[in-house]
């Protein structure tokens, strides 16, 4: 195949050698990749050098917190802007994390990160429940129910999330009545511009003891489920492991609760003059964000659930029917376990989307990671390192969620393979 093998081509030595090398498939592959790598590297170098030069022009550095002269760990946040006083307050805080305006930018960043994690966790749980309900409704044999579910999906899926978020915030929760005329939900919850007031549970004296009993109850429930599942597998007779486990838990936790003399206090909110007394008040920003995120994401989850159930071959349903399974048994024991394997990968994507979409909190003034980053950029003027930090934070959040969901998926596959 080489050029020199052709008789009519008699070239001088060096040219022939060059042609031989060039016509070698393997060499051309290396050459091509080397050129590609060189172009990428030069491009990247110019990019970074340009940014550095531009920043130097205004007296800034790309990564002020990277200590090039110092020793391990090479990162020193106390000396640069991250260690300075932030000076802005954050009125939403999660997981009991403490922050005041006197704290550093870095602490503000952490507060934002925790707020993002909190709203994502709550959003994921609610969106999953709502999405499964809507998805199953779309498959309902009831014409009205399936079409209402379709209307829901087609409406919320086709309107940008930001539009929905701003609508919930500006046109619904900020238009709620003044605190004096709070909407009263059976005296349990109240809604006004001040926020959504809900009852809050406080532990009293015997709470610690009761917590131990609850742990015991969980342990007992797991044991009961394990034992009954094994018996069911061995004998083939239904022994209702899940129901029995739930019963065990309720029995132990409930009886100990009563014996200890109700070691918990429900603190109900009351309408005050300017704020709610007692209970917990959820700010309109947070409520709007959770509403928007869950309603939007649920419309996608509903389609995933529907698609996955439809992807199960019809023969499975018919076989279950032939074995005398009831409608709910069919769904619970035959269809859903198989659908789960199809659902999990796209569901993971939706969880990632929800977490990333929570950055749109900036539109409803909820102090999440991105919003805090935005304020920091405006105040400290350090856009480049801050954007890099934000990207790194979202990258690690995404990787964590992926890892968790992959673990669940792996376990699921292992179980169905058994």
């Amino acid at each position: 195949m080489t050029a020199s093998s052709r008789p009519e081509q008699r070239l001088p030595g060096a040219a022939a050698l060059l042609l031989t090398i060039l016509s070698d498939e393997r060499f051309r592959r290396y050459l091509f990749q080397a050129i590609f790598a060189a172009v990428v590297l030069v491009f990247g170098y110019v990019l970074i050098a340009n940014i550095q030069a531009e920043l130097e022009g205004i007296g800034l550095e790309i990564f002020p917190f990277v200590n090039t002269k110092g020793s391990f760990p090479f990162i020193d946040i106390s000396s640069d802007f991250l260690g300075q006083r932030a000076g802005f307050s954050i009125d939403q805080r999660s997981f009991g994390f403490d922050y005041t305006a006197n704290d550093s930018y870095f602490r503000a960043f952490l507060t934002g990160l925790l707020n993002t994690i909190q709203v994502s966790m709550i959003g994921i749980v609610i969106a999953t429940v709502l999405g499964v309900v809507v998805g199953v409704s779309r498959l309902s044999s009831n014409w009205l129910v399936s079409h209402v579910a379709m209307l829901y999906v087609e409406t919320f899926r086709n309107i940008p999330l930001v539009v929905q978020l701003i609508f919930w915030y500006v046109a619904v929760f900020l238009k709620a009545p003044k605190i004096g005329d709070s909407l009263d939900f059976f005296g349990i919850a109240f809604l006004s511009v001040r926020g959504l007031a809900l009852p809050e549970a406080h532990g009293t004296s015997g709470f610690g003891t009761w917590a131990i009993f609850v742990l015991l109850a969980i342990g007992a429930a797991i044991a009961v489920r394990y034992w009954l599942t094994r018996r069911q597998d061995e004998t083939g007779r239904p022994s209702y492991p899940w129901w029995s486990a739930a019963g065990t838990f309720v029995a132990i936790a409930g009886v100990s609760f009563l014996i200890l003399g109700t070691p918990m206090d429900i603190d109900s909110p009351e309408v005050g003059q300017f704020r709610y007394a007692g209970g917990m008040t959820i700010k309109p920003e947070f409520t709007a964000l959770v509403f928007g995120l869950t309603i939007y994401t649920a419309s996608f989850i509903a389609e995933i659930v529907r698609g996955s159930v439809l992807a199960i071959p019809k023969g499975q349903t018919e076989a279950a029917e032939a074995l005398g399974f009831s409608g709910s048994q069919r769904l619970r024991l035959v269809i859903l376990p198989q659908a789960m394997a199809i659902i999990i990968p796209p569901l993971t994507n939706q969880y990632l989307n929800l977490t990333k979409n929570s950055s749109l909190a900036v539109a409803v003034a909820y102090k999440d990671l991105f919003d805090v980053g935005n304020v920091t950029i405006n105040q400290a003027g350090q856009a480049v390192p801050m954007v890099a930090l934000l990207m790194a934070a979202y990258l690690s959040l995404s990787l964590t969620i992926s890892a968790i969901m992959n673990t669940i998926y792996g376990r699921l596959k292992w179980r169905s393979a058994r």
Binding site: L144, P160, V163, K356
Partner: protein, 424 residues
């Protein structure tokens, strides 16, 4: 039509001779009250639906003050684009209408359902928006669409249809480039004032116009870029594969707003700086915010499109590649003529839903202080006289987004049918 629908819905053959009320009764029994549980469900749904419908219609027809939309329609559609230059937008729209009409006839089949749904959804827009010049322009746009459609009528099944399709594709690309070129080149090459046309700074672009430009350019550039990335990821060159995987995974793990910020705060610095590489001087460009927003949207969407196309590539059987090689086709030819057409056809629904996402994501440019459609809806209720009319403005904007997104999803379903996906 109705009876046949009812029959399929009830999945029970009914003799056509039955009187309509019996048909209706049986249908109701089968679909709403088949069991006591279903009857309760129907009842509860009716109550909730009735409450929502009552609340919704009393807002739309009684409480809402739609003047904010009527007065500001110019803002909603074009932002602060100068009125004297509107003809540019209209010329572009006529070009799009003509090419759409051609394409529809050349690729599609005669199906009036989609245009009818679209027209019906647009009725509120017509009522609120159209009078005077816009009405005239819109009418000529629709006429152009129809003319192109019927002009292409005889070509569809003639021996020129293949040529006509190629020409149409060429015209789309050409028109796209012609529309984009001035924007892309403006910062350095076109004179600011006194050129052939006066310059409209892109800070003045706004409203639906800006949204459509962002979405159109985003889709037009991100799609080919995404295909390249997908092919790179499937390539046998390890260096290229690693680069593509790294790019795709990195972009997909961060959020669009951070990428927009990166584009605005970081890449703009890099583009601005004058430098030289290996002695070759590179000019610095003061690039506009709209351009950086486009770049951010493109960089983001390309990664997602690449993942979708990768799925399509994996679905093409290996035998297809081998058959192409056996016919003596080279690597690029096998890819362009055999693998990609099949791969793209297999993933049309996912691709279109990604395009819809991109269209919806254009609403995020508000963080760069651009006045797109959504930003107008946020600004308008601050005007004296319309203070607090947020709901009206947002509902109007949501309706526009919905009409476009929904039409796109329906169009993809029709395209899928026309290309016979799933049939062989």
């Amino acid at each position: 039509m109705e009876v046949s629908q009812i029959m399929t819905a009830a999945s029970r053959p009914i003799a056509p001779s039955l009187p309509p009320h019996v048909v209706a009764y049986r249908w109701t029994r089968a679909n709403l009250f088949s069991s006591p549980g279903n009857a309760v469900l129907t009842f509860v749904t009716v109550v909730i639906l009735g409450f929502a419908a009552y609340q919704g219609s009393s807002f739309v027809f009684a409480t809402a003050e739609w003047e904010i939309v009527e007065t500001n329609r110019g803002l909603f559609f074009t932002g602060r684009f100068p009125r004297d230059e509107f003809w540019r937008i209209w010329i572009a729209l006529h070009g799009i209408a003509a090419l759409s009409g051609l394409s529809w006839r050349l690729w599609g089949s005669l199906n009036l359902r989609l245009p009818l749904i679209f027209a019906a959804a647009c009725v509120p827009l017509y009522i609120l928006m159209l009078e005077g010049w816009p009405l005239l322009w819109t009418s000529t746009c629709i006429a152009t669409f129809g003319a192109a459609y019927f002009a292409a009528w005889p070509i569809r099944f003639s021996r020129f249809s293949e040529t006509a399709r190629n020409v149409t594709v060429g015209l789309w690309i050409l028109g796209f480039a012609a529309a984009m070129l001035p924007t892309a080149l403006y910062p350095s090459f076109l004179p600011g004032q006194g050129g052939l046309f006066s310059h409209v700074p892109d800070r003045q672009w706004g409203g639906l116009f800006l949204t459509m430009v962002l979405a159109g350019v985003g889709i037009g550039v991100a799609f080919p870029l995404g295909i390249l990335l997908a092919v790179g990821r499937a390539s046998t060159f390890p260096v290229i594969r690693i680069f593509c995987v790294a790019y795709i995974e990195l972009i997909r793990a961060v959020t669009l707003v951070t990428i927009l910020f990166m584009s605005f705060f970081i890449l703009r610095l890099a583009v601005r700086h004058e430098t030289s590489v290996l002695g070759i001087p590179i000019t610095g460009y003061e690039v506009s915010v709209v351009f950086m927003a486009m770049l951010g949207l493109i960089l983001f969407s390309a990664a997602y499109i690449a993942e979708i196309v990768r799925g399509g590539l994996q679905a093409v059987p290996r035998g297809q590649v081998e058959a192409g090689q056996a016919l003596g086709l080279g690597g690029v030819q096998v890819l362009a003529l055999i693998v990609l057409p099949q791969a793209l056809r297999a993933v049309i629904p996912a691709l279109v839903s990604q395009f819809i996402s991109l269209f919806k994501d254009t609403s995020l440019v508000f963080i760069l202080a651009l006045t797109d459609l959504l930003a107008i809806a946020r600004i308008a209720p601050a005007q004296p006289g319309f203070i607090g009319d947020h709901a009206e403005a947002l509902i109007f904007v949501a309706l526009i987004y919905w009409v476009v997104a929904f039409s796109m999803s329906r169009a993809s379903q029709q395209l899928e049918r026309n290309l016979g996906v799933g049939e062989r």
